[in-house]
């Protein structure tokens, strides 16, 4: 493994990948910091631009956008109390309180150091754990893989949706859309209704941009009358208020380490995501803190807990995707699509078929943290200025990038129609409480399920009892039942807590 890591570093330390990482970090922070744009939008828009470059450059660039975008979300959370994602909600509480006290620089510094620390730890875990897990999962045959995929569908559907039926329905709809077109095993065409354009199925990139990106644009269009908030860093005359000293970092290091561990663990479980990690780590940080009363009122330790856990999820969410082909959340699903487009099929075989590429990507993941630290630290003012651009400058450009991205996939105008149709579907799904990310995960995993199911049936023949002969099958059935049960319990508990305020659906 050590040799592979070294060869990964030698592959990534070239002009192309480094420029890709720098571009990814700058784009990620900028997009992440703009209120209303999440890192998923940045990745989806950047995805078509990576089609024509080497996978090492393209994938590391997208991963840099991801990491930097998650960090960028904390900038708007701290400066204008607008968390770009639910995971930054807690950062906004403490960070904005510090901003109001004239200590924005301290909050931004803490957020950056905690983010980078959390990401680095999770990346190290990813590098050390992924290959051994993949070696174990290589033992799984088609029958075990069927149960594994069913486990993934159940867990993601039940944990990620607004309610269990809505989450699982989202997954089923994604599965159904994935079955449109010619079947790769039998050559039959399904649900094409005589329309030749449907034989190839729905093109992934326009569908992805339509389902995940465009509804966010529509949300901004819908709220266009809400006044624009300009980002600005408040400066204190006392220099100690504008930065984090080594002593202050040392004080919260234990919290960072613990929260990063929590984030890494939660991220490796499919379906839970960064918000859960941030909330659990924040709660744990508060429980064990010497000053729990400061949490929520401008606690540097609170920012450290939330941000390190939130960012640790970036690295560890790659573990199930790369070892078991299970994307744990929407960003992982998007990145899995990127891997597939670049000819890399995530799963245990990736470590044997594309050893150099995958370790170069890992090395890129680590190097991204250093660039993130350097670029973010030296360019706070620039990113704040970029993120303060009025939305009537940003969203016309996003519209055109979405159009170009959808067209680039197949150089076909029908893909634009797919983009428009799935934009409407994606927004409609948000309104009725269905989860678009789960839909995408169902869409991506269905071909794998169908292929393995077909092979499994060929193996067992008429002896259906062989489906349950392996202990793997029982383990995954038990895990699925456990996750559905615990999700039901969590949702029942949550429904007993009175809702804080009525929220808009999308």
């Amino acid at each position: 493994m050590f040799d592979n890591i070294l060869s990964g570093f030698s592959a990534i330390l070239a002009v192309g990948p480094i420029l890709g990482i720098i571009a990814g970090v700058v784009i990620g922070i900028t997009f992440g910091a703009i209120p209303g744009i999440s890192c998923i939008m940045a990745i989806a828009i950047m995805l078509p631009m990576t089609f024509y470059v080497d996978p090492i450059i393209g994938i590391t660039m997208l991963l840099a956008v991801y990491k930097a975008g998650i960090y960028g979300g904390s900038i708007s959370a701290i400066l204008i109390n607008t968390p770009g994602a639910a995971a930054s909600f807690l950062t906004a509480q403490d960070g904005h309180a510090l901003t109001k006290a004239g200590k924005a620089g301290k909050a931004l510094d803490m957020s950056l150091f905690a983010s980078v620390s959390g990401e680095m730890l999770a990346t190290l875990v990813l590098i050390l754990v992924a290959a051994p897990i993949s070696a174990i999962s290589l033992q799984a045959g088609p029958i075990e893989k069927v149960f594994l995929l069913l486990f993934a569908f159940t867990v993601i559907g039940s944990m990620a949706g607004e309610s269990i039926p809505r989450g699982l329905l989202s997954c089923c709809l994604g599965m159904l859309f994935a079955m449109v077109g010619m079947d790769s095993i039998t050559g039959s065409s399904r649900f094409t209704f005589g329309i030749d354009e449907l034989i190839g199925g729905f093109t992934f990139t326009p569908m992805l941009i339509g389902i995940l990106v465009m509804p966010e644009v529509i949300n901004v269009i819908r709220r266009r009358k809400v006044p624009h908030h300009e980002l600005a860093i408040t400066r204190s005359p006392n220099p100690a208020d504008n930065r984090i000293s080594f002593g202050e970092y040392k004080k919260v290091f234990r919290t960072i380490l613990k929260s990063s561990g929590i984030g890494t663990f939660i991220g490796a479980l499919p379906g839970l995501g960064s918000s859960t990690a941030a909330f659990i780590a924040y709660g744990e940080g508060k429980r064990t803190s010497k000053n729990p009363e400061k949490y929520g009122k401008g606690s540097v330790e609170g920012i450290a807990a939330a941000e390190s856990a939130n960012n640790a999820v970036c690295g560890s969410s790659m573990i199930p995707m790369l070892t078991l082909s299970i994307p744990g959340d929407d960003v992982a699903a998007l990145l899995m699509g990127a891997f597939l487009i670049h000819g890399l099929t995530p799963g245990p075989m990736i470590f044997f078929e594309h050893t150099e590429t995958i370790y170069a990507i890992f090395a890129g993941f680590l190097i991204t943290d250093l660039f993130l630290l350097g670029i973010a630290r030296s360019g706070f003012k620039f990113f704040v200025k970029m993120a303060s651009l009025k939305r009537y400058f940003i969203f016309p450009c996003v519209t055109v990038f979405a159009f170009t991205g959808a067209f680039t996939a197949g150089q076909n105008m029908n893909d634009i129609l797919v983009l428009i149709a799935f934009t409407v579907v994606g927004y409609g799904m948000r309104i009725v409480g269905l989860n678009p990310a789960v839909f995408i995960i169902g869409f991506i995993l269905t071909p794998f399920l169908e292929q393995n199911l077909d092979q499994a049936f060929a193996i067992v023949g008429d002896d259906y009892g062989r489906f349950f002969a392996s202990p793997f099958s029982w383990v995954f059935i038990a895990l699925s039942a456990f996750f559905v049960y615990s999700s039901m319990r969590m949702k029942r508990k949550a429904s007993k807590v009175p809702a804080p305020a009525q929220q808009e659906p999308a």
């Binding site: 078509p48 399904r190 644009v217 016309p396 159009f403 929220q503």
Partner: protein
């Protein structure tokens, strides 16, 4: 808008579609025989869609018939929906116009339209952005990605 009513209508629609998938043999054509059968997985999924849709529909219907007050996300506020229709309209127009007028001619108009919709009235920078961005994208796509965006064909 009451989301529970939408739940009932949408679930009914999904159940009807699922029943069609379960009962219609003409939804797949051609291809070789397999152990599984080409409609095996779609029918399993259709069965699950019926179960989950029915669960959602029954829950929403019971709440409606009890006259229960709207909770949390069950209330869909329709403020700003006109903007959504305009935006989708602009996008459909963009899709229809690009093959004939070309990317470079259509895109500035679309960008101006979206900027106007978002309240932009600062015309000089908006026009500059609307002209420069499409040209950069067009040249960048052609030179670096080898993607040829549509040109004027009238």
């Amino acid at each position: 808008m009451d989301r529970r009513k939408i739940d009932v209508v949408l679930s009914t629609f999904l159940i009807i579609v699922s029943v069609i998938i379960l009962t219609n043999d003409n939804l797949a054509e051609g291809g070789a025989e397999s152990d599984l059968g080409i409609m095996f997985l779609p029918r399993i999924v259709a069965g699950f869609i019926i179960i989950f849709s029915a669960t959602i529909a029954i829950q929403s219907f019971l709440k409606l018939s009890r006259g229960a007050a709207l909770e949390g996300q069950e209330l869909i506020t329709t403020d700003g929906f006109s903007g959504i229709f305009l935006y989708v309209g602009i996008f459909v127009g963009y899709w229809l116009a690009v093959p004939h007028l070309g990317f470079i001619v259509t895109t500035p108009l679309v960008m101006l339209g979206v900027a106007y919709l978002l309240g932009g009235r600062n015309w000089v920078p908006i026009i500059a952005m609307s002209v420069i961005t499409p040209v950069l994208i067009y040249c960048g796509s052609r030179e670096y990605l080898r993607v040829y965006l549509p040109t004027w064909s009238l």
